[in-house]
């Protein structure tokens, strides 16, 4: 639970505060001053500390664990192994599918990846737990591991039929096309690399469990805990006031979460478990490594006749992750013939997971590089190439776009960037030792939709409180929900407090897929509207109301004051009015679900993703769009690439808060720069282990790597996408950055690098 002192962010300008205003983050001051308390910063009496022991092999069996030395080490309360940890029940997956096994052990007997948890030590202090964990001896029976997609033992993998998309006769049309290109594009294993590590504090009181844990999905994770321990959903309370970065990684309760909660139950004391940095690279999945081949056949005038696409992503030996590689390929360009198929290959890794724009991101790397290659082959400007093949409708579903401001994005971006001055030949622009290249690429992300619920209270002092179990991981939920409630009820933002991150609040689904803002502004809009209706109704009808004599049929609430529309009669502040009628609060719960929704459906809606609404439902195909224009400078001797300019024009529909949207877009662009040039989980092929699992060696861009970034909003309100007209913001901008950079590197150097990241040895 968190109440912000909104005065910091308050402004006199109503324009700033309204939905669509550039209000600064209301949680900013708390974060900057250190007042914001993150989930596992809670101080609890009797807190104990757990530390995990990870497997040092990538495949095989644990044959024995010697815990004697650890057990007698100072401060040690328990050493947990697969044999001694309490048995948990299997939990259903995030679609709500029941578990394959009825029991679950979060410590592994069968090791399927390096670093997998095999034991845990709980001690009075963190230092004691660390020291004792080093004393746990584990013996293994090691078997050969499949380390990655290029492993000879990996094979072709499993065909995922649901990913197949086909129309026309793609193979034949490709064979007949006068111009053809075909190339393979690879992206490595990447990690979310949030500053805040994963971890939690678990406390049992009887059969009630409280978990303080950074979470992108309180209700979903609470359900998992409830199922593991066989307690009612209501008995689990998850608290997650702030999240120090998630990027898709913090939506699920994971093995380490289960260990901590089980240890707390077994010891009858609260347990804190925080993954150390290397464990953050092996305890949950980053973006799966991918391989794609893209073949495009076209006319001599550049019109695409066929796209043939094949994709592969890695998944785990004991878990399935599909990174939809044909997602952008199938919708970005108009083509009469299309074929996309995908396999997944099992390797010895932790199950890969969601990282910002899973699917769309690597998919765009393939198609947006390939279209650039085709443009070069034909001698057509790459921007022109994209316009020649502009998709006027969704090429896959053949439905109309709800809104698609991509043409506008190309135009606005090109204008701001000065694209017209580009000299077409590779290696034709330089500045001393630096080769200069300009590249363009488009990006897109579907508008994922779901239903949400919120409580809005109008309190006796006239202030407004919003409650929701949704979360703010930096994207601005606190701020835009305050703006929505303020505007809807008619009070200044300074009188609104937003409470998030507690699963006992009104329910919310997953914060992922860039859906939360659209879902929650809709829910708050509805709840706040109901609260306002009740307030006005009371003012019109309550015998004690000073407005009753007016005989009006409505009233206006503005700036926290109630008056008649034409200004006759009394004018009261909300506080004065509530006191006049003797009410201490008005509370409304609003949700966006159909009225006849059953309690079971509600539960399913918030605790699984089975009920999210397809982005192609009904008559429309709903996506956000963007166009990136990038300048790179490549040192001709050293092969080092620096991005010197980025101009991106983006269509996220209506922006609830442009300032926050721009920050999100820039964050995506920065992450994309890291992906293009730096990020790669490097695996030791003999041991199947990531060797650069720390922030010195896993390269993320620093400020020095990031130029000024110009973002331009070209969106228009999209009534088919959300209640207030917004589309997705958070994931869109990373999509297309890596290909824009790769295309710019080609323009600078004449070298096509199709394997990310583009490190210096690939250009030297």
């Amino acid at each position: 639970m968190t109440v912000h002192d909104m005065k910091h962010a308050a402004s006199d300008s109503a324009r700033l505060e309204a939905v669509g205003g550039r209000l600064s983050r209301v949680d900013g001051p708390a974060k900057i001053t250190g007042a914001a308390k993150y989930a596992f910063e809670q101080q609890l009496d009797g807190l104990t500390h757990a530390v995990l022991v990870g497997a040092t092999i990538a495949a095989g069996k644990v044959t024995a664990i010697d815990t004697r030395a650890a057990e007698t080490a100072p401060g040690v309360l328990a050493v947990l192994t697969p044999d001694t940890i309490m048995e948990l029940r299997g939990a259903s997956d995030w679609f709500g599918n029941p578990p394959a096994l009825s029991t679950y052990c979060p410590l592994a007997r069968e090791v399927t990846f390096s670093g997998q948890h095999v034991a845990a030590v709980v001690a009075e202090t963190f230092e004691q737990a660390v020291a004792a964990a080093a004393l746990v001896k584990v013996w293994y029976d090691e078997t050969p591991a499949i380390v990655d997609l290029s492993d000879g033992k990996a094979g072709d993998g499993i065909a995922i039929e649901a990913m197949t998309k086909e129309w026309g006769d793609a193979q034949a049309a490709f064979a007949e096309a006068p111009v053809r290109i075909c190339a393979a594009y690879n992206t490595p294993r990447e990690f979310q690399a949030a500053m805040e590590p994963h971890g939690l504090i678990a406390r049992w009181q009887g059969d009630e469990l409280t978990i303080w844990e950074p979470s992108q999905w309180l209700d979903g994770m609470a359900r998992t805990y409830a199922e593991w321990f066989g307690v009612p959903f209501e008995n689990v309370r998850l608290v997650s006031p702030y999240i120090g970065g998630g990027f898709g990684s913090k939506a699920l309760a994971l093995a380490h979460s289960a260990v901590a909660a089980a240890a707390a139950k077994m010891l009858g004391r609260p347990v804190k478990l925080v993954l150390n940095r290397p464990q953050n690279f092996t305890s949950y999945g980053g973006r799966a490594a991918t391989r794609q081949t893209v073949a495009i056949g076209a006319d001599r005038d550049g019109k695409i006749q066929s796209i043939v696409h094949r994709g592969v992503n890695e998944t785990a030996v004991d878990g399935m992750w599909v990174e939809p590689l044909g997602s952008v390929t199938s919708i970005m360009y108009a083509t009469p013939n299309f074929s996309s198929k995908q396999n997944v290959v099992r390797v010895n890794t932790v199950v890969p997971g969601a990282k910002r724009a899973p699917g769309e991101n690597p998919s765009a790397f393939g198609i947006e590089c390939a279209i650039d290659e085709l443009a070069h082959e034909l001698g057509i400007d790459p921007l022109e190439m994209r316009l020649i093949n502009y998709a006027e409708q969704d090429p896959h579903t053949k439905k109309a776009w709800s809104t698609r401001q991509l043409r506008e994005a190309f135009a606005a971006g090109a204008e701001a960037f000065g694209w017209a001055k580009r000299s077409p030949q590779p290696r034709s622009m330089r500045d001393g030792h630096q080769l200069i290249g300009w590249g363009v690429a488009a990006g897109t992300y579907p508008v994922r939709r779901a239903h949400g619920e919120a409580v809005v209270k109008i309190l006796a002092d006239g202030s407004v409180e919003v409650e929701s179990s949704s979360i703010d991981m930096g994207q601005g939920t606190y701020t835009i929900l305050a703006q929505t409630a303020a505007e809807t009820v008619g009070v200044p933002v300074s009188q609104v407090s937003v409470k998030l991150g507690d699963s006992h609040f009104a329910r919310a689904g997953v914060t992922g897929g860039s859906r939360l803002a659209g879902v929650m502004t809709g829910a708050v809009y509805k709840a706040a509207g109901q609260a306002l209706d009740e307030l006005v109704g009371l003012a019109l009808s309550d015998p004690r109301s000073p407005f009753q004599a007016l005989q009006a049929n409505t009233l206006v609430v503005q700036d926290g004051r109630i008056a008649s529309p034409r200004g006759e009669g009394p004018e009261l502040s909300i506080a004065e009015f509530l006191s006049a009628v003797g009410r201490d609060q008005i509370e409304a719960k609003g949700d966006t679900l159909p009225v006849n929704t059953t309690p079971e459906q509600r539960y399913k809606n918030y605790t699984t993703i089975a009920m999210s609404i397809p982005h192609t439902e009904g008559d429309w195909s709903r996506y956000s769009w963007c166009a990136h224009f990038v300048e790179v400078r490549v040192d001709e001797d050293f092969g080092t690439v620096r991005v010197s300019r980025v101009v991106s024009a983006l269509d996220s529909g209506r922006l609830y808060n442009p300032k926050l949207a721009e920050s999100q877009w820039k964050g995506g662009i920065i992450m994309g720069i890291g992906q293009a040039l730096l990020e790669e989980g490097i695996v030791d092929r003999r041991h199947g282990r990531i060797v650069n699992g720390n922030f010195a060696d896993y390269m993320l861009p620093t400020n020095a790597d990031i130029p000024d970034i110009q973002t331009i909003s070209v969106g228009i309100p999209d009534p088919h996408s959300s209640a207030l007209g917004g589309k997705g913001v958070g994931e869109l901008a990373i999509v297309g950055i890596a290909p824009a950079i790769a295309n710019a590197v080609f323009h600078a150097t004449g070298k096509r690098v199709r394997d990310l990241p583009i490190t210096l040895e690939k250009l030297i």
């Binding site: 050293f638 490097i682 010195a696 060696d697 620093t702 020095a704 790597d705 210096l760």
Partner: protein
């Protein structure tokens, strides 16, 4: 991290006495020591905190020489105006090292003593074999991920790169390290692995670095440090070069030159072959590039670090030509 005893030394004498005991390790800025303790590489029985010793952080620079107390902070030395004008390569090497936060904590003495970034060295639980950590246990890097490893000065026992920047500039300009009882050339202070990868420095139990001394010279005055890496900041060198140049009166013939390499060798690597090839020669691009190639004589790669052999001479050439341009 294992439990350890903590002792605060108030004088160099006290530090020396304490450091002579088995299992004792000095703590200055702590940016290497604490890091390695967390990885389970450093397991000191006693930590001797020298960071409070008075007078060890002095920075004293004149045209004749620069003396940096062992406790002088990296950021202070880097920012010293006289260091910038009389020993620019030293300042530049420090500025391009680590991050602002680290430079504010880290000391010059500690900097010389930093350990390799070889990922196998830093992960004892998963890779027990490492001759540097456990003599005779083997080398996990050979046959593994070697992108950052050395191509010069390597042995069968160890191919780990010396990662630091400052020491590269120090060996270029003939700096000395002051151990109190003895002074030695920084170049001799660092040891190539040979058969004893665990020995990285010529320092004995109980010895404490008190200062670093660099003789002033024309080559030090016109000097530069060029560092190449994928990331613009906060990354160790893929290859780096410290170069100092003194030209004849004709402003194009090389009178004296110093060249040292970082990021490619097992110790800070002075390349006299390049220096000799250029002395008395005109400073044109072709001559410089050809001479720079000589730096790679005897280089051996282990696959992924092959690019260093092409890269390092280009870094040297860039540094020399850059100095030539300012003539």
């Amino acid at each position: 991290m294992r439990d350890f005893a903590y002792v605060r030394a108030d004088s160099v004498e006290a530090a020396r006495n304490a450091a002579a005991l088995p299992g004792a390790m000095l703590l200055a800025g702590g940016t290497t020591l604490v890091d390695l303790a967390k990885c389970g590489v450093a397991e000191p029985a006693t930590v001797i905190d020298i960071s409070h010793i008075d007078g060890l952080n002095a920075i004293d620079v004149s045209a004749d020489r620069a003396v940096f107390g062992a406790l002088a902070k990296m950021s202070h030395v880097a920012d010293n105006p006289q260091v910038k004008s009389l020993f620019p390569a030293v300042s530049e090497a420090l500025w391009q090292a680590a991050s602002a936060q680290l430079r504010n904590m880290a000391t010059i003495g500690g900097n010389l003593m930093q350990r390799t970034r070889c990922p196998y060295f830093r992960d004892p639980a998963n890779f027990p074999a490492c001759n540097k950590r456990a003599p005779g246990s083997g080398c996990s890097a050979i046959g593994g991920v070697t992108r950052g490893h050395a191509v010069l000065g390597i042995s069968e026992a160890c191919i780990a790169t010396y990662p630091g920047d400052l020491a590269v500039a120090l060996v270029a300009f003939g700096a000395e390290v002051d151990l109190g009882e003895r002074k030695l050339k920084v170049e001799d202070f660092f040891l190539a692995p040979g058969a004893t990868a665990e020995r990285e420095h010529d320092i004995r139990p109980g010895e404490v670095i008190t200062a670093i001394e660099i003789p002033g010279s024309a080559v030090a005055r016109r000097s530069t440090y060029v560092k190449v890496r994928d990331r613009q900041s906060y990354e160790f060198a893929a290859a780096s070069a410290a170069v100092g140049l003194e030209l004849e009166a004709d402003r194009r013939t090389v009178h004296d030159i110093r060249v040292a390499l970082g990021g490619v060798a097992t110790k800070p690597w002075r390349v006299r072959a390049v220096e000799e090839a250029l002395k008395g020669k005109p400073l044109d691009e072709d001559t410089v590039r050809k001479a720079s190639e000589l730096a790679m004589e005897g280089a051996v790669d282990h696959g992924a670090n092959h690019y260093k052999i092409a890269l390092a001479p280009r870094v040297i050439a860039r540094a020399i030509l850059k100095l030539g341009e300012t003539a």
